[in-house]
């Protein structure tokens, strides 16, 4: 493995450890949204079960987006980004390191928490399993696509709103396939096709977005 890549991941993980409140905000948001719905809608299990895939996936998606603006903003402000652009290693690789760290901090915890929150929606066990799989396959795409938005809006005022506008249309397929997989498994159908499509989304994002993000970052430091 490339030493520079590991160093970038290590730095971001260390920073996340030192500033736990930032990480907690994202997760707290996810837990709150997912827990308020059953309270606000109705305790009717059949209705909750129908709502579950959409609500949980939307909450996961928004939680991921919430942390996006911070992805490069701090590095941009303190000059670390300049040094990354000037590093002899390819910027694309370093970007992948940043995105991987972002996923570890904001995507993976969501994947692990989701089945616990799913219990509030009276979801059957196999649907919970599909929920975990769909998030595991889909959240990397969210981080990867989100990175482009975060890079393009660097140094722009009101970047939070702009990131949402840029990124949400690209998130739609991931949302549809993700919640579709869970809904399919709840109605007794095979979720395999949806999961394959989610995996394909993530792979496609992995192949294309790091280059786009690196190009946007080069423009931002100029």
């Amino acid at each position: 493995m490339n030493g520079a890549w590991i160093a970038v991941v290590r730095r971001d993980m260390l920073l996340a450890l030192r500033r736990r409140s930032d990480v907690a905000t994202t997760l707290f948001f996810f837990v709150i949204v997912a827990s308020l719905f059953p309270l606000g809608v109705s305790p009717e299990p059949a209705l909750l079960r129908t709502l579950a895939p959409g609500v949980l996936w939307v909450a996961a998606l928004l939680a991921c987006m919430l942390s996006l603006t911070r992805l490069f903003a701090v590095d941009y402000a303190d000059g670390t980004l300049e040094q990354m652009v000037l590093a002899p290693q390819s910027l694309t690789l370093l970007v992948l390191g940043k995105v991987f760290a972002h996923w570890l901090v904001s995507g993976l915890p969501v994947v692990l928490l989701a089945p616990v929150l799913g219990l509030q929606y009276a979801m059957p066990n196999d649907a919970l399993l599909v929920l975990v799989w769909s998030l595991l396959l889909g959240t990397p795409a969210l981080s990867l696509i989100g990175a482009i938005g975060a890079a393009l809006t660097l140094g722009v005022r009101g970047s939070g709103l702009l990131v949402a506008l840029l990124v949400l249309p690209l998130y739609v397929p991931v949302l549809i396939f993700g919640s579709g997989a869970v809904a399919a498994s709840q109605s007794g159908l095979d979720a395999g096709a949806y999961l394959s499509l989610l995996g394909a989304c993530s792979l496609l994002a992995l192949a294309l977005t790091p280059w786009a993000t690196a190009a946007a970052l080069r423009i931002a430091v100029e």
Partner: protein, 204 residues
Amino acid sequence: MLSAQDLACTRGDRLLFTGINFELRAGQLLYVLGENGSGKSSLLRILCGLRSPEQGQVSWQGEDIRRQSDAYRSDLIYIGHLNALKDDLSALENLSISCSVLGQNDGAVRARAALQGLGLARCADIAVRNLSQGQKRRVALANLWLSRARVWILDEPFSALDTAAIVLLASRIGEHLAAGGMAVLTTHQEVVIAAVTVQELRLT
């Protein structure tokens, strides 16, 4: 050899400078002089490749840096106005991680020695947010003690430093030049650096 051919740079609609030419060979030092706002920092960013010039090109070993950026970047260290330090990490962590990002794997060991040399031994394990402005600058400059780059591009390296640190840094730059390196720097202070050839470039 680092050279610039007919560089021009604009900011907004304003022309900052035009027709900048120089050649910098091993062991040579280039001072970039000029008033505030005359484009010194922009020139240094162009020399690094962070910014593209309006006109002209920068060449390293006779080839345009935009066409061989990897080879050039591994021979380059740039220290700008921003210290590129993470407030939540200690000085030692900052240095050893930035060494690894630049592709040097023995950074952790040498980083402690470099911090010691700069009188920061006691602060090495404290989060950078608790250091003073001058101490932060010293940590950022400690990268120069770790670097194997041949081209040093330093934007106001002496700002925020006390006299002892200025002497240390000046002698480090002198050492680097004596070892066949080259340096481009901007400064508003009178600092004596031992160099065989000193060039001056005045921006107006």
